[in-house]
Amino acid sequence: MHLLEGKGVTIHFGGLAAVSDVDFYVDKGEVVGLIGPNGAGKTTLFNLISAALQPKPGEIFFKGKKISGMAPFKICRLGIARTFQTVKVFSNLPVIDNVRIGALFGAQKRLKGNVNPEVNELIKFVGLTEVANTPARDLTLAYQKRIEVARALATKPEVLLLDEMMAGLNPTELTESMELVKKIQQRGVTVVMIEHVMRAIMGICDRIIVLDYGKKIAEGTPKEIAGSKTVIEVYLGVTNVGSKKA
């Protein structure tokens, strides 16, 4: 049984099939990359998994249990957390409260005593200790993205969906960000990441899924994907791999 699995997942916006009959799976402990040109349907697939949208038709399973049709907050409490491509921090709240909300309202199996120690640990984990009491709106985009990561981790997820966490980062930040994903994997969290930065994708992912026009067109190890003719034609060929950094 896969940790996360989708069968025939489809959604239309008007006449457009944003995600079309996609089968996918994610196994425990993996880092899975989700790539494809802009508009391929990657974010929409995250929206479907996190229940911001409902597949029609199609089904999504988490640990063998059907989760399509549930409310987003339930999906989160079950153990699937996410970040957003366009950051959605709680801008008027300080970093610490952004993360605290995740700890207080996420997976509810554990005892709800004082969440401060774990909140502070997560803030340190993503490197935001110095700005812990600063309102999120006063921080740079790179910092806000890290707030989202800490907030998502605070919900104690088994699967973390990262949507273009590395977009717009400078080379130093990019390296830090790649380290962060590896550390998240070491915490025992399974990661699915949407990313355009090939260095990151090829460097961290165990497996890659390629979407194009809503369809899954390839799947495999970074090596297989880098050597796949179809992928090179529809995706890698279009953008210049070597120079694509930010």
Partner: protein, 327 residues
């Protein structure tokens, strides 16, 4: 660090100021010759403070602009009209207060479940629509079904009315305080900042919004019951007056909603201005003046009077600290 002097002093201040105010309020009816006017004026303060605090409890943090205040307040009026009529009360007054609160709570819960999916201006319009709908339905029921225009409610003494209002105020402040300090308060603020992100962070946004909306409505319903025993004549015009939806909201915005004192201060100031203007020759200018002050507030004091006071206080503290470190 948790048990440092500072936090104890804060706690003392947190409980101390409200306690002093409460004791002062309890003694208002005993101030000699001024007492009769004083008790009426203070009752009016309390009515608007409760409505403003209850309104800010929901709208202040979620940003959902509710204009339904008059609908719930009016329900309180009719709870009094039906259970506490002049020809003989059916139940004790405190039961009527509980019924008014409960009916408002249930109606708000249902309305909330339907409308809290609406965003921004649509929610505001719907809640105002609810007031107009209640007005029409109740008017129709009174005139066409019962064949009457209004109902006379048993008159209560000024003292009874006043102490009931003090009681409802205490409950309102405690409820607002505990919501604000609890994890639900944090959740409400996260909803105000980014509802979608809140939902994906495990917050049951629908449930929290509906519950807090209903709790605030219950307080409004309770006030309505007591005001009806003062007004005594209840018809749809007095019960479902849209001004009751606007005034407390504007008072809370003027006072500032980042803080529990804000709505209370805004309500006190505006009720007083209203009293002065409405008894003098400027009667007709009240709404105009109210509106101008409000526009100025929104433009120049985005966090209201309390925000201004807090800013000044921080500046004084900052200046003192600088002086101390230098000296």
């Amino acid at each position: 660090m948790n048990l440092s002097n500072i936090s104890w002093r804060k706690l003392g201040l947190n409980a101390g100021v409200p306690l002093v105010i409460l004791i002062a309020l309890i003694f208002v009816p005993f101030y000699g010759s001024w007492a009769d006017y004083g008790i009426t004026l203070f009752s009016l303060f309390l009515v608007y403070i409760i409505l403003a605090v209850a309104w800010a409890m929901f709208t202040g943090s979620t940003g959902y602009l509710s204009l339904a205040t008059a609908a719930f307040y009016g329900i309180g009026f009719y709870a009094a009209a039906l259970l506490y009529p002049a020809e003989g009360a059916l139940v004790p007054l405190f039961v009527v207060v509980l019924v008014g609160a409960a009916v408002s709570f249930v109606l708000a819960f249902i309305v909330g479940a339907i409308t809290l999916r609406l965003k921004g201006i649509y929610f505001a319009m719907f809640t105002l629509g609810l007031v107009l709908l209640m007005y029409q339905v109740v008017n129709y029921w009174l005139i066409s079904v019962l064949g009457i225009r209004g109902i006379v409610v048993a008159l209560e003494s000024n003292e009874v009315i006043y102490y009931y209002l003090v009681g409802i105020l205490v409950v309102s402040i405690l409820v607002a305080y505990f919501i604000k300090r609890s994890k639900w308060g944090l959740a409400l603020r996260s909803i105000g900042d980014n509802e979608e992100a809140a939902a994906h962070t495990g917050v049951n946004v629908t449930m929290i919004k509906i519950l807090v909306f209903a709790i605030s409505a219950a307080l409004m319903g309770a006030v309505g019951v007591i005001v009806a025993t003062k007004t005594t004549y209840v018809d749809a015009n007095t019960a479902f007056n849209p001004m009751i939806s606007f005034s407390p909201a504007l008072m809370a915005i003027f006072g500032g909603m980042g803080n529990l004192y804000g709505p209370a201060i805004g309500a006190t100031i505006f009720t007083y201005i209203q009293e002065i203007l409405q008894t003098g020759s400027l009667k007709n200018y009240y709404m105009l003046i109210f509106g101008l002050i409000l526009i100025a507030t929104i433009l120049y004091l985005p966090s209201g009077m309390m925000g201004l006071i807090q800013n000044l206080w921080n500046r004084i503290k900052g200046a003192r600290r600088r002086a101390l470190t230098r000296g």
